[in-house]
């Protein structure tokens, strides 16, 4: 589809894409356009933007089929490395955690865990799971967004990366106790993946964390 003919208003500048808001018929849609990065070699840049646009669109479709709460794809503009998807009303989880009480935050994390579990069960890993990539609807239901780095994988390693990244984003950006937050997340995750996958993924996530530089062998 051609996104250049759409009238859109800029909404947000992300790290790798610009988001803008447009209307198609009765629907409010988001146009996610991967923009050229000045710092990157042009050939490398084009390859990365093209590959990720296609992969993101198809993964979102699959996630939807698996029953996860994700946006719906309206169209893809391959020429302009853009994806058009339905607009989600809500708040970014990163923004709302710090205003929440402990039990409310735990409830939200359990629910986020369930969604991640649904993705993993369907063989999808997100690849950039942080509290910035979760949108909480006005009714408190979390939607997972930004599948730009996601891939199809059933490897414990890749699933572990997801939980590791989420854990680190909680440690780095939020003041709540990270281990109790992660426990709630794991309980929700276990609900959709089952005990076996949950425990192997969590073990892997902790292993990945220790892979960082200069962890003492204790």
């Amino acid at each position: 589809m051609d996104t250049e003919s759409l009238t859109s208003t800029p909404l947000h500048r992300g790290a790798e894409a610009d988001l803008s808001l447009a209307t198609i018929g009765p629907w409010k849609v988001i146009v996610k356009r991967r923009v050229r990065k000045e710092y990157r070699n042009p050939i490398l840049d084009e390859r990365i933007r093209h590959d990720r646009t296609i992969s993101e669109a198809s993964v979102i479709h699959e996630a939807k089929a698996a029953g996860a709460r994700v946006p719906s794809i309206v169209g893809v503009d391959i020429e302009n490395n853009a994806i058009v998807m339905t607009h989600l009303d809500g708040t970014v989880a990163r923004e709302c955690f710090d205003d929440m009480g402990k039990s409310e935050a735990q409830k939200l994390l359990r629910s986020i865990g369930e969604q991640i579990g649904l993705l993993h069960k369907a063989g999808i890993v997100h690849g950039d799971l942080t509290t910035s990539n979760v949108i909480v609807s006005p009714f408190g239901a979390p939607f997972i967004v930004d599948f730009g780095m996601s891939r199809r994988s059933v490897e414990p390693e890749d699933r572990g990366v997801d939980l590791h990244l989420l854990r680190r984003s909680i440690i780095a950006s939020h003041r709540q106790n990270p281990s109790s937050m992660m426990n709630s997340m794991i309980r929700g995750y276990e609900k959709t993946t089952g005990k076996k996958v949950a425990s192997s993924t969590w073990r892997k996530a902790r292993e990945i964390a220790r892979r960082g530089r200069y962890f003492a062998i204790r």
Binding site: A15, Y39, R47, I48, M149, L165, A172, I208, R213, A216
Partner: protein, 330 residues
């Protein structure tokens, strides 16, 4: 107040004096260079450090006119690094501290890279990018400590460049040799590009580049492609971290910060997101005594000292395990 800093974590023995106004009064260093095609052997590096230590410290404690200066505080690099090398600097530090009856301050080498970069470039509370042979991390300061926002999951950027240079029989330091070759390259060869969230992984890239080299790949093109791919991966992770942490300053420190291409790329990322860019001056990017003196002074002023009997070295020591109460800087 004069703080003497002693660096000896890997290939460099350095001694430097920093005064209470954060001015670098002296900075004397000697670096062990292995022959091309060979890496740093910890024992051989340590032997070099032990041989030069005496003269370096003497020179660092002398004024231009030749009179000697007594330091008020002795700081030594307590880790992370190569055990045999760390012990040389620690021994010198303990000896001076005992003889001069001055307090001893343990310094984390990575924290010190950031401290000297922040002092010279006047950064207050930046998103810090530390790239060297020992570190490849993206950090933000929260509470009392640096928190790792992204890092390498396997080898560092410095390792990658050094090991590839070694494979290609290019002279040490590898980063400089690779960048020299890269200026002659123009064809971008497809190499693995691995970014996992805010983390990067370089080992697949090294294997692919080394394999291509053994299959008679063009060296200049390979160096060019290796740099472009490796630096783009890091820049992407930095960009993502910058958007998430919303810092208004980007600091670039560590030995690989001397790379012009990397400075250009990280600078563009900062500019693109309205952040000011603070790259460490090239002469203070690599390991040096001044970084330890600079960090040691800040630590001492925050009340951090160590008794001789507790002055261990810590070969493995993470950035996020050290209290750094002096950030944000005034």
């Amino acid at each position: 107040m004069m703080c003497l800093g002693i660096e000896s974590t890997a290939h460099t023995f350095g001694a430097s004096l920093v005064d209470s106004d954060d001015r670098i009064v002296t900075n004397v260093n000697s670096t062990y260079r292995p022959p091309p095609g060979v890496g740093i052997h910890p024992r051989k590096a340590a032997e070099h450090l032990a041989t030069v230590a005496d003269d370096i410290v003497k020179t660092a404690l002398s004024t231009k006119e030749g009179s000697s200066i007594d330091p008020d505080v002795i700081a030594y690099a307590a880790g992370p690094g190569l055990g045999p090398c760390l012990r040389i600097g620690a021994t010198v530090g303990r000896a001076l501290s005992t003889y001069l009856k001055k307090p001893l301050v343990p310094v984390h080498h990575g924290v010190a890279h950031l401290d000297i970069a922040m002092s010279i470039t006047k950064a207050r509370d930046p998103l810090a990018v530390l790239v060297s042979g020992g570190h490849t991390s993206i950090l933000v300061h929260v509470g009392k400590r640096w928190r790792v926002y992204g890092e390498t999951q396997d080898i560092t950027l410095g390792n990658l460049l050094d090991m590839f240079a070694r494979e290609a029989k290019l002279p040490s330091p590898g980063g400089l040799s690779v960048s020299r070759e890269a200026t002659k390259g123009e064809n971008l060869i497809k190499l693995p590009y691995t970014v996992k969230g805010n983390d990067v992984a370089y080992s697949g890239l090294l294997t692919a580049a080394a394999t291509s080299l053994r299959r008679q790949g063009n060296l200049a093109d390979l160096c060019f492609s290796l740099q472009e791919t490796a630096f783009s991966m890091l820049s992407e992770a930095v960009e993502r971290s910058l958007v998430q942490t919303r810092r208004s300053e980007v600091l670039l420190a560590g030995g690989v910060a001397a790379s012009q291409r990397l400075r250009q790329m990280i600078g563009l990322v900062a500019e693109d997101h309205g952040a000011s860019f603070h790259p460490v001056p090239i002469e203070y990017s690599g390991d040096c005594g001044a970084q330890i003196a600079c960090s040691g002074r800040l630590a001492y002023e925050s009340g951090i000292t160590v008794r001789i009997s507790d002055s261990f070295v810590t070969p493995r020591w993470r950035m996020d395990e050290v209290d750094v109460p002096w950030i944000p800087r005034a």
